[in-house]
């Protein structure tokens, strides 16, 4: 028994949401959905847990506040206290109002940047990453549902649900690469066509250029 991947392509987010709910209700698992924009309610329908990203941001912010407090205490009180404008810096508490703005900025700095780094890390996003959506149309106007299944009976059942809920295309593949390759071929054909067209244009320009230079 080999694992198969069923791909259902939808053109409408409401249909997709309905299909997800139906498939999950029948006891199957919707493994992945690729969409051009966030579809509200899809995460709960698919049974995804809530994201803990906001909590990490809070913790990073706390960390930033503590670190900058330590730095400011060391600079202004610990290492080299100075009398500035007649106001001595011998205790941190008495000078606290002057330290609030920088504490706030450092909190935001750490909370924002470290959260974004966590987000990129958790999603495996980085410049030069080759990972992508299997069907290029899902960043345009289509929604792709991916269900992993090995039982052929269940496969036909899922395909039936997909058809009922209005899927435009239903494909069964052995792995993701098969689908990727399919679209890669289309793209390469497009590129070749374009290159040919631009070459033709060039030769056309050359003809004109030759004509002019002959004259």
């Amino acid at each position: 028994m080999s694992n198969k991947i069923i791909y259902g392509l939808y053109a409408d987010d409401e249909q997709l949401l309905e299909a997800t709910k139906k498939i999950v209700a029948k006891g199957h698992r919707v493994n992945e959905v690729y969409s051009p924009y966030p579809v509200h309610g899809l995460d709960t329908a698919m049974g995804l847990k809530y994201s803990r990203l906001a909590i990490t941001s809070f913790l990073y912010g706390m960390m930033g506040a503590i670190l900058i407090t330590l730095l400011m205490w060391y600079v202004m009180v610990g290492d080299w206290p100075m009398v500035i404008g007649g106001k001595p810096n011998f205790t941190y508490g008495q000078n606290l109002p002057a330290f609030i703005p920088v504490t706030f900025e450092a909190t935001v700095f750490c909370a924002a940047h470290l959260m974004v780094i966590t987000f990129l890390f958790r999603c495996g996003l980085f410049p030069g990453s080759s990972s992508r959506n299997p069907d290029p149309r899902t960043t345009d106007d289509k929604f792709l549902m991916e269900v992993h299944e090995s039982d052929s009976k269940k496969i036909t059942e899922i395909k039936k649900i997909m058809k009922e809920t209005g899927a435009e295309e239903i494909k069964v593949k052995n792995n993701t690469n098969e689908l990727l390759e399919e679209f890669e071929e289309i793209r390469q054909k497009q590129t070749q066509k374009l290159m040919k067209a631009s070459k033709k244009k060039q030769s056309f320009m050359k003809k004109i250029f030759n004509k002019i230079s002959k004259k």
Binding site: S35, A98, P101, T139
Partner: protein, 457 residues
């Protein structure tokens, strides 16, 4: 799905999802027109001229500016505050309007955030140049060093500024880029030319639009908006404290933080209007940046302009009410002294001209909006000039009273930053998706004229 029976559609021209993709990708996939090239060449020349003036300043010293003993701070800080202020509208649109769930922000947030980043780049140049010895620029950071040990002073608003501006710039940049990733992925998936494909593959960070990624992306955007909202308020508050914590009459005012923030949003929205009115024509985005968007922005200009006007009058009243002669003279001198023309230029442009926006006909008129936006730029520039130069030029000793006149270098640097700003913006307009299409697609069903048939149709 809920469809409003009253509201005007935010996307006109009967667009569906695929049309949006096509329209946003078009400027990137096609060649620039004559208008773009002529504006680009014009701004590159201005930029080069500005860079020349900066090089001259750094090579010779800031004596080449029009400063004198009495007025030791003039166009440099005026331009700095002006540019930082312009940046504020972008963050307001993308962060504050996100928290308030204002859907009309979706067509304009990308461009206004770009404006923020490019404006803060210009602003950041001025503190660097006016240090005089730019190669010592790293002294502004609290680094362990061999000079004493000489640390930075965390009591000083100028140091707060360092933290505020660098946090503001970097967080806005990241916020902007995270929103761009899904749109770069869209361009990547359409790209046919090999080089474009490669470039947009790198830029899109391997975005795939998985459900879990979108869920995280949304949480992240919301938290970043929540962080940016107090951040944007803090940045201009801190900029205003550069003045407010000093003891110069005319600067030593507690009203400065809210007054500067309102002024920043006011000036920033005007810049947003200027850029968007041009951009919607040049890259034909009239269906996305509609009359309704322009009207909404004009209303914000009206509101913030009124707050600014209120602040000017409060300042005058408090100067009189305080009973401090020096404070009273500082304000009398502003309005009736040798710089009266600057004061009244500010008053006319910032207080009177936006009041015309009360008329619906006027605020829905593109040419009128454009002219008022230019007025606001002038007014907001003069506001900073008035605060800075008129408070300084007649100081504590009448024998040292003087006037300030800018040298060609002062003017050159200012013109140069305008050019640099435009260069960045023009390059952006042809290589980046100028509308946050992934976000915009979420409102197609509720707000596109194709699906939302209401009484306006």
């Amino acid at each position: 799905m809920y469809r409003s029976p009253v509201r005007e559609p935010l996307i006109t021209g009967k667009k569906d999802l695929h049309d949006i993709t096509e329209d946003i990708a078009r400027p990137i996939e096609t060649k620039a027109n004559k208008w773009w090239w002529s504006l680009f060449i014009f701004s590159v020349i201005a930029m080069i001229w500005g860079f020349g003036c900066i090089a001259y300043t750094i090579g010779t010293g800031i004596g080449v500016w029009g400063l004198n003993n009495t007025v030791g701070w003039a166009w440099d800080i005026t331009n700095f505050v002006w540019w930082v202020g312009i940046g504020h509208a972008g963050t307001l649109i993308s962060a504050v309007l996100l928290l308030f769930r204002q859907k009309w922000r979706l067509s304009i947030n990308r461009t206004s955030e770009a404006m923020t980043i490019f404006a803060v780049v210009q602003a950041g140049l001025f503190p660097l140049i006016h240090m005089g010895r730019i190669w010592m620029g790293y002294w502004i950071f609290p680094l362990p060093n061999q000079f004493g040990p000489l640390w930075v002073n965390f009591n000083s608003p100028l140091l707060w500024d360092v933290f505020a501006i660098s946090t503001y710039f970097s967080v806005s940049l990241v916020f902007w880029y995270m929103g761009l990733i899904p749109d770069f992925a869209m361009i990547r998936d359409r790209a046919v030319k090999p080089i474009a494909k490669k470039v947009y593959t790198i830029l899109s960070f391997g975005w795939s639009g998985r459900a879990k990624h979108w869920q995280r992306h949304e949480v992240m955007s919301l938290v970043l908006a929540g962080l940016c909202t107090p951040l944007v308020l803090s940045v201009h508050s801190i900029v205003s404290m550069d003045f407010a914590t000093s003891v110069i009459p005319g600067w030593h005012t507690t009203i400065f933080p809210p007054y500067f923030v309102a002024g920043a949003i006011f000036g920033g929205f005007a810049m947003c209007q200027t850029l968007l009115l041009v951009a919607r024509k040049v890259v034909s985005l009239e269906d996305y940046i509609t009359m309704k968007h322009i009207e909404y922005m004009n209303i914000i200009i009206l509101v913030t302009g009124s707050i600014v006007g209120c602040a000017y009058i409060t300042e005058l009243f408090i100067a009189w009410y305080s009973g401090v002669e020096f404070e009273q003279y500082a304000f009398l001198n502003r309005a009736t002294g040798p710089y009266w023309w600057a004061y009244w230029a500010m008053m006319t442009c910032n207080v009177i001209s936006p009041q015309l926006m009360w008329f619906k006909k006027l605020r829905r008129n593109i040419l009128f909006t454009f002219i008022i936006a230019l007025f606001v730029h002038i007014g907001m520039w003069f506001e900073r000039f008035v605060i800075i130069v008129t408070s300084l030029h007649r100081d504590f000793l009448p024998s040292s009273w003087s006037m300030f006149s800018p040298s060609f270098v002062d003017i050159g640097i200012f013109v140069g930053t305008c050019g640099f700003f435009l260069v960045l913006f023009l390059l952006y307009a042809r290589t980046f998706p100028v509308i946050a299409q992934a976000e915009l697609k979420t409102i197609v069903k509720t707000s596109s004229s194709k699906y939302n048939k209401n009484k306006n149709e």
